[in-house]
């Protein structure tokens, strides 16, 4: 049996762009000028850190689902490894998004956890993908694991959509952009925040892509352990 091919390394330009964009978004995120708003005050800067986590998570999980569909169609183990790695990075982003959101909520809503629909939905979203990891770890046979995990991953992504986008809209939430609370567009009257926010989203997404790629390459190399690594 041929050893599975490791995914290609990302182009250096992508890595440099990720580094530069993150550097820029951290610098401008902490030092740049932001609108002064009641209650929110300086916490509005969380837009540059918390919201890109959710964008990054959704894109990673979307990528993971796409690779799972590819696995089901073509049965290439590389696709399964990619789906797994993107899922892990998505989980990491989701966790960071939840934590940054909780820190923000402590200062604006007055509690780390208030059972807000958005908080509940994201916690369940994390559970969905933790269960994906449990499912992966409970099969001995690699082919079966890959197939079952791919099916679950597609199902989980389709269940995540109503969870994150439809259910919170059916009830009142304190989250910006819900239940009469001003959303993103209300804060950036002169578009200043957009100049930091969009680069941050792009930077984190590229970083996630890079992380997933590294993880997938590492997994592929260690899965053919008997071979000396230097002969790859």
């Amino acid at each position: 049996m041929n050893a599975p091919l490791a995914p290609k390394s990302l182009h250096p330009a992508i890595k440099w762009m990720a580094v530069l964009l993150l550097f820029y978004s951290f610098l401008m995120g902490w030092l740049g000028d932001v609108p002064r708003k009641v209650i929110l005050n300086e916490s509005v800067r969380n837009l540059y850190f918390h919201v890109p986590m959710w964008f990054g998570m959704l894109l990673m999980l979307l990528g993971s689902a796409v690779y799972s569909v590819r696995y089901l169609l073509f049965q290439q183990f590389t696709d399964d490894t990619q789906a797994h790695s993107l899922g892990l990075v998505g989980l990491l982003f989701g966790f960071l998004g939840l934590v940054t959101g909780m820190v923000w909520a402590q200062f604006t809503w007055g509690a780390w956890w208030s059972g807000d629909p958005k908080q509940n939905a994201s916690a369940v979203g994390l559970l969905l993908y933790l269960a994906y990891m449990v499912l992966r770890s409970s099969f001995e046979d690699a082919q079966r694991r890959a197939r079952m995990a791919a099916v679950y991953n597609v199902l989980a992504f389709f269940c995540l959509i109503p969870l994150l986008f439809i259910l919170p809209r059916l009830t009142d939430s304190l989250h910006p952009g819900n239940g009469g609370n001003p959303g993103f567009s209300a804060y950036d009257l002169d578009g200043r925040m957009r100049w930091v926010f969009y680069p941050a989203v792009l930077g984190w997404t590229l970083t996630g892509w890079w992380l997933a790629n590294l993880w997938a390459r590492y997994r592929t190399l260690t899965s053919r352990a008997p071979l000396p690594l230097s002969k790859s």
């Binding site: 969905l128 449990v134 409970s138 197939r147 679950y152 199902l155 389709f158 059916l170």
Partner: protein, 222 residues
Amino acid sequence: MKQAAFLRRALALLGHDARRETRQAQALAGSLLYLVAGVFAAQLLLRPVGPAAWLTFYWLLVLFVSIYTVSRSFLGQSRGLHLYYRVSVPGVAWWLTKVMTGTLMLWVLMGFCAVLMALWMGYPIQDTGLFVLTIFLGAPMLVTVLTLVSAMSQGASQPAQLMPVLGFPLLVPGLLLVHRLSKLALDGLSWDLVWTYAGAMVGLNLMLLALGVLLFPFLWRD
């Protein structure tokens, strides 16, 4: 022609599976007993029981009994019978059959659970018609997700343990909707909001059914 043959096979399978379920009456009896024991224990512990607690307990018990029932009808199958189905029936027909028999069984179980709870714990539901609608829409949601999950956990090292771990998070969106809908039945207010939730439930059921049609053949292959 092909569709007609397919439909005939699916119908034959449905009849066969339903007959097999009724012949193995101890299986359904097991689920019924599960409910009796559960409700009886609850009426000893939850006393007095408020309407909100009644409803929450109802859905929790229905969730547990559906996991138990669906996993038993799938994982409890003998290897030989399983192999026979695998070679003789296409995955999609099998999927539709399982959803139909499972839904019928859950309708019975959910109704039975409501009757038992009404007997021992009182009946706080104001709008019974709406509650029946909730049960009608809730059963396919539970069955589709759990059937997929049980098919996925076949061949795993701990299938019985995987069922709830995979099932709970996948079921949360549907359970939230079903709980909202039955909360309206509990309060018996106007039907203004009903159509929003019922529409969302129908959409969710259709999405899950379609996902099963697409994904089940992959689970079926070996």
